[in-house]
């Protein structure tokens, strides 16, 4: 299969000046700055095929955004190779930039004091989009994102959700083959999130665009990405299908019981954590490795009518990832 993105042993270090608090601290920083190297990406490698939609997840400061910035040519890699569509992103060749787009949920390119349509027209000129293509592209995006009525309003008068949708239009007018999305739904209400998600899904399908998405929004990841890359502390600790994530990081299994008569729940605590009791239904959490033993013990010593062993919810697993606890688990 054609590889759209290739990342091989990528390393990115930042040099930062450490600040000592207080006025005296500020002076001493000024006179003898203490430099510290922060290792944002510690040797990561992965590749993405054309048309794939990959979710990047991990706790804050793990290196997700740094990766996207290196791939879009904003950051100069300390070591390693990155290749996107056969280009070295750092060179920022116009032919390359015309085929990609980076959308950051917290960064806007729309001209604040002017209606969004002005920015669109500017982008048409900058990306040298032929008039006909521009018109089609604009019509399609405007309809999909439902922004017809917002085009001629000064950007600063719009709500965050409206602005975000217009940002997407501005970023996609040139129909990029590769799309880097950094927290595209941050700060949006549920309806707006849904709109953006549906749109990303459609865009991926329609244009067979390759999409890399980072998000702290569980629904973004679950709804959109089949494949996820978990990054933590500058390293990739998981790269695979979303379902496999559970097998890898779920610490516990869920045992659901139906009891035939009421019993002392304290007895159940000896076997596992009791999550809920609504007689006759009981839900227990037990360590993965002890699930089989726990189940047989339950069947032997308790009045059990029915018993099932289930996986943890995907949400719970992803929560573990966002909390940065996945790292500990993957070392086991």
């Amino acid at each position: 299969m054609d590889k759209a993105i290739l990342v091989d042993h990528l390393v990115k270090n930042f040099e930062v000046t450490e600040k000592t608090p207080g006025l005296m601290g500020a002076f001493s920083t000024l006179l003898s700055p203490k430099k510290k190297v922060v290792r944002a990406l510690k040797d990561i490698s992965f590749s993405v095929s054309k048309g794939e939609l990959v979710g990047f997840i991990g706790p804050n400061g793990a290196g997700k955004t740094t990766t996207l910035k290196v791939l879009s040519g904003l950051l100069y890699p300390t070591a390693g190779i990155t290749q996107v569509l056969g280009f070295d992103p750092w060179e920022r060749r116009p032919e390359y930039l015309k085929r990609i787009s980076l959308v950051m949920g917290q960064k806007n390119q729309l001209w604040w004091d002017l209606p969004a349509i002005e920015t669109f027209e500017l982008n048409r000129a900058i990306y040298e989009i032929p008039k006909k293509v521009y018109k089609e592209s604009l019509d399609e995006l405007v309809t999909l994102l439902e922004v017809e009525k917002l085009l001629n309003i000064q950007v600063r008068r719009l709500s965050l959700g409206q602005r975000m949708r217009l940002e997407l239009v501005a970023a996609l007018l040139h129909q990029p083959e590769i799309l880097f999305l950094d927290e595209p739904t941050i700060g949006l209400d549920l309806v707006a999130q849904e709109k953006i998600r549906n749109f990303i899904y459609d865009y991926n399908r329609k244009h067979s665009a390759t999409i890399l998405l980072t998000s702290h929004n569980m629904d973004d990841v679950i709804d959109l990405a089949r494949r996820v890359i978990v990054i933590d502390d500058g390293r990739i600790i998981f790269d695979g299908i979303l379902d496999e994530l559970i097998a890898r990081f779920a610490k516990e299994k869920i045992i659901k019981l139906t009891l035939t008569k009421e019993i002392d729940t304290k007895e159940l605590e000896k076997i596992g954590k009791v999550k809920s009791i609504q007689f006759p239904e009981v839900i227990l959490r037990v360590p993965r490795s002890a699930a089989a033993v726990a189940a047989s013990e339950l069947l032997q010593s308790f009045p059990v009518g029915d018993l099932t062993i289930e996986e943890e919810d995907i949400e719970d697993v992803i929560r573990v990832v966002f909390r940065g606890e996945a790292k500990k688990l993957s070392r086991k």
């Binding site: 930039l97 002005e118 000129a125």
Partner: protein, 267 residues
């Protein structure tokens, strides 16, 4: 080329979004001119007085010359570049198939066009109320030299601005201070926009004329006034050209370094 025409247009539209702001800025300029005008008017209240080789007519022409030349040379949008880097907004530009320098140069030109438009109006207004003696240059060669020196001055100033604006690549919090130091103090003082440089002691003048600063304001005005011509004019243009090229090269070098060091932080 079409790209930059669009940048020019949107930039112009943007300036108009802050009409009141812009008008206040122009009012400030007019006030400044009136202040400097009356200062020199008082110094030269005795009509026969000649100081530092300037009589009343010449010094007042100089003051009016400053107004036009300043709006051409020193009004520059590129002063926002430091903030662009500091806030991380520069990322939006770097992601586009467009030269960042040309983008800002175009915005500068559009800002200058607007400022010049107003400066001409103010010029007429002040001319009518103050009725200064004014010298109209008719020598085509001098006029050509004047426009050439203005073009070089614009380019030199652009490079100086971009160089000081690159400081936030390494030290994000120094952006504003350094910019103030360079533009407000060094350039205002050394370019001749507060007083004509040839009233300074000769040794200082000699040193200054090797630096790029007098070529921003003082030199073009002197060329217009016909006080600099012939071989001195050619020599001045040569130094100007030398600085324009040198600063362009240095600025490019610094920027390439800066972009590599850039941490693209700021959300």
């Amino acid at each position: 080329m079409k790209k930059y025409l669009s940048v020019f247009k949107i930039s112009f539209a943007q300036e108009f979004a802050y009409r009141l702001n812009f008008i206040m800025w122009r009012v400030r300029n007019v006030m400044q001119i009136i202040l400097v005008f009356f200062l020199w008017d008082t110094v030269f209240s005795n009509p026969g007085r000649v100081l530092f080789g300037y009589d009343r007519a010449k010094i007042l022409t100089y003051v009016f010359g400053i107004m036009i030349v300043k709006s051409l040379v020193l009004s520059a949008r590129a002063a926002d570049v430091a903030g662009d880097i500091y806030r991380g907004d520069i990322m939006n530009h770097l992601l586009k198939p467009m030269s960042y320098f040309k983008f800002w140069f175009t915005r500068d030109i559009s800002s200058k066009a607007l400022n010049l438009l107003f400066a001409v109006g103010e010029f007429a207004f002040l001319f009518i109320i103050l009725r200064p003696p004014f010298f109209l240059q008719t020598d085509l060669l001098a006029l050509f030299g004047f426009f050439l020196s203005i073009a070089l001055a614009i380019f030199i100033y652009f490079n100086l601005l971009f160089m000081t604006s690159s400081i936030p690549f390494w030290a994000p919090e120094l952006g504003w201070g350094s910019h103030f130091l360079i533009t407000a103090i060094v350039i205002e003082f050394l370019s001749g926009s507060l007083f004509p440089i040839d009233i300074l002691p000769l040794t200082i003048q000699k040193i200054l004329f090797i630096s790029p600063f007098p070529y921003l304001i003082f030199f073009p005005i002197q060329v217009y006034l016909g006080r600099i011509s012939g071989s001195v004019l050619l020599g001045g243009l040569a130094i100007s050209l030398f600085w324009a090229i040198t600063l362009w090269l240095v600025m490019n070098f610094i920027w390439n370094k800066g972009l590599r060091a850039y941490q693209a932080s700021g959300r």
